[in-house]
Symmetry: none
Subunit: 237 residues, 4 copies
DNA sequence: CATGAATGAGTCTTCATTCAT
DNA sequence: TATGAATGAAGACTCATTCAT
């Protein structure tokens, strides 16, 4: 509620604050959140325990800040990819890839995220929920565009698709963190998108197949205009 | 004084244990595992704290028992559905339904499961991991059968499909637990399976449509779905 | 205070009671008093926990009874030896021997005794204190007789001698229990009595030497009358 | 609020630790070790319970520190007395005196020592055992010197003598702590040494008499002791 | 801004004792 | 008498948080 006030205009990098954030992320990813004491974080950061409270109001605030930091790293990337000038399917592929890279880049940290997300007592009111929704909304937007443009099935329920995609992505990362089996952002994202785009049923998704999500997704670089058909959903209609 | 006198003839047996299990699940799901004290569980169960330790060696053991109980409830059902005499897709649908019913039947309990699964320090060596793998293997088996029988795409990677399915299912439940939005096992399972079977891409999954969710699956190919190829902007277009 | 009432006239061997006593002694000597739970004792005795309380009012009472039992075993022996028809020194030797046999006979049990004796919060008011005093008094008596008969130094302070003897005996046993070095009741008693009778100083106690406490004390089996010269301290004098 | 404000310049250091040590010794000696809770110690020390753990890892560690502190106080003294330039018997006397002063100086503290010594589960591996052995070794050394120099009986078994001495000393203190009868370090040490040096047997220890406790000991061998061969009933008789 | 000793509420767990059967 | 499930009062220890310097 009351976050350590950072001078409104300031670049948000008191140096110390960043150090602590880094140290906390590091410590959390090693021992889990509950298993990490403020003392351990302070030691890791090379400061005194009291100093932690000069920058964060509580351990919870620190945890939130650490995780929020991740979103702030990833969100801009996802945003950019979502607005790229390519078919929805291609954009989703790249977004999935970026998402999986969260894990590939820093497995321990990702594990932390995976665990914490579901452990927050009142997640709904946490500001993490907000960030997460914002994040998920981007995926939803792309899916809607895909439908609107006719690229995707008209009877597709975007929300269902979004949940399936994000759920599968999360699950894949969790599996990786649990089994130790490494993730290949490109490979895994492509495999998943192939599945999702084309479906399970044989003979189906003939259309989805020609190159499928494969390669840089459906064919390649048609007219940018074609990309976001906005509405053109008509088709034969 | 505390408990209603137990009918003289009653075995005085498992009753307690079940009561505690129930109370614990209830308490955990409200306040989270870490946020629930043994005292609270005892109070909820109407027993003394010490009694808890008569039935479970430790808090951790209690937690495990609570969760293991769930698997033991669900597993036989899933097993039966997996061996039913129907197309793989139909079986998967029913399995997904059953899975979602975990949540529908007892949301707090399900939330507990969702939370805990990712919170175990050394999940890999926990006996929960084993149960979970056994569970996931059943889904994998059905998918492989689907491929073998030609019902599903020959180039399908069963493991990817299984992860997508379970991940989507989990995510759906988690969203429900977080947003409070209720789950309709049938509706949601069908929506998800429609998506997964037919894929995202327009024109694809012609076969996947017949009657939606192809409840009876691969029933045929009247292909009303094919009707709306969308804009077919993909392929050669 | 309120000991389980044993029918006043009864032989004191309800069978069950003895079993419990035995089981408790056994358990205590293995795990120490504090480290032994009533549950463990019950198991060892083959009864239910509640049954323990039918025979003893509390754990403390049980402990006391166990230890008192030892005194009741040893006391008669000591008493008899103290009243034997032989010189005080010979009698002390045999008493010391018997005392050390407490350890030799059952080391774990003796260790228990050694430990417990000093651990009782209000030893003074415990009935163990009384027994112990009665026990020590026997040694004191023999020493006094030794002085009175002229066998021992007239300026000997019996109480000091008694404390030295019992202290040395206790210490020897404790050392044995701590180092594991076994005790030889005869050998060790003799060594100690040799020391005590003759003293440390060279040239001193020449008289104490000729066979000293050695063998069955002073030479052998002279006329019983000779045994307790009472005073005859003259000699060449 | 709780503590008198500490003078600004004070090291704020070891003070606390010592206070705790003192409080713990005090509390232990009143209620016994097991009977004293960390809370009680904290209260006694005027600190919070948590503070105890800032200075000691556990209750056991605190107990050990308390007792080790005693040894560290006494050992140097004993060492110095053992190396004094006087007959072995005189040195033993002063050492015995110092030893008894442990009790005289702080009865409750001494009682604690007496009790605890025998209560440690695995005393042998405790570092108290090491200290105790070092301590006992000093006595042994002096005795050996006594024998070597001819001051003491050539057939003396030093180890037996040492055990008798320390055992008697311990016992004396224990009796004092149990009966409340005060100890006079000088008087009691002398009485005990008189006994030990001269032996029990009449006529013996003539040498042991000269000034009692043969303060200066081995003053000579006027051997009045030899004078009272008692009944010399031994030998060829 | 920094420090770190001090705080003390809160946790899990144990176990002697009771009592309904 | 016997049983053993239930009790609940303690106790040792942890750790986020504060505050005097």
């Amino acid at each position: 509620m009351k976050m350590a006030k950072r001078p409104p205009g300031r670049p948000a990098k008191s140096g110390r604050r960043e150090e602590i954030l880094r140290a906390a992320a590091q410590a959390f990813s090693v021992g889990g959140i509950a298993g990490t004491t403020m003392g351990a974080i302070a030691r890791q950061a090379g400061t005194a325990e009291g100093t932690l409270y000069l920058h964060f109001d509580s351990k919870d605030a620190l945890v939130e800040a650490v995780i929020a930091g991740l979103y702030d790293d990833v969100f801009p990337d996802i945003m950019k990819l979502a607005n790229a000038d390519s078919p929805a399917s291609a954009r989703l592929l790249s977004m999935a890839e970026r998402h999986l890279r969260i894990y590939a880049d820093d497995p321990p940290f990702a594990r932390l995220l995976l665990q914490h997300m579901r452990a927050i007592p009142d997640y709904r009111s946490s500001n993490l929920h907000a960030r997460n929704q914002r994040y998920a909304a981007v995926f939803l937007g792309v899916l809607k565009q895909g439908v609107a443009s006719g690229e995707m099935r008209a009877d597709l329920v975007p929300r269902v698709a979004r949940d399936a995609l994000l759920g599968a992505l999360d699950y894949r990362m969790w599996l990786a963190s649990v089994t130790g089996r490494p993730i290949s952002p490109e490979g895994d994202a492509r495999a998943l998108m192939d599945l999702l785009l084309g479906g399970l049923v044989a003979g189906a998704s003939a259309a989805g197949r020609p190159g499928s999500a494969r390669a840089r997704a459906s064919s390649g670089s048609e007219a940018p205009g074609e990309t976001r058909p906005r509405r053109s959903r008509g088709g034969p209609a």
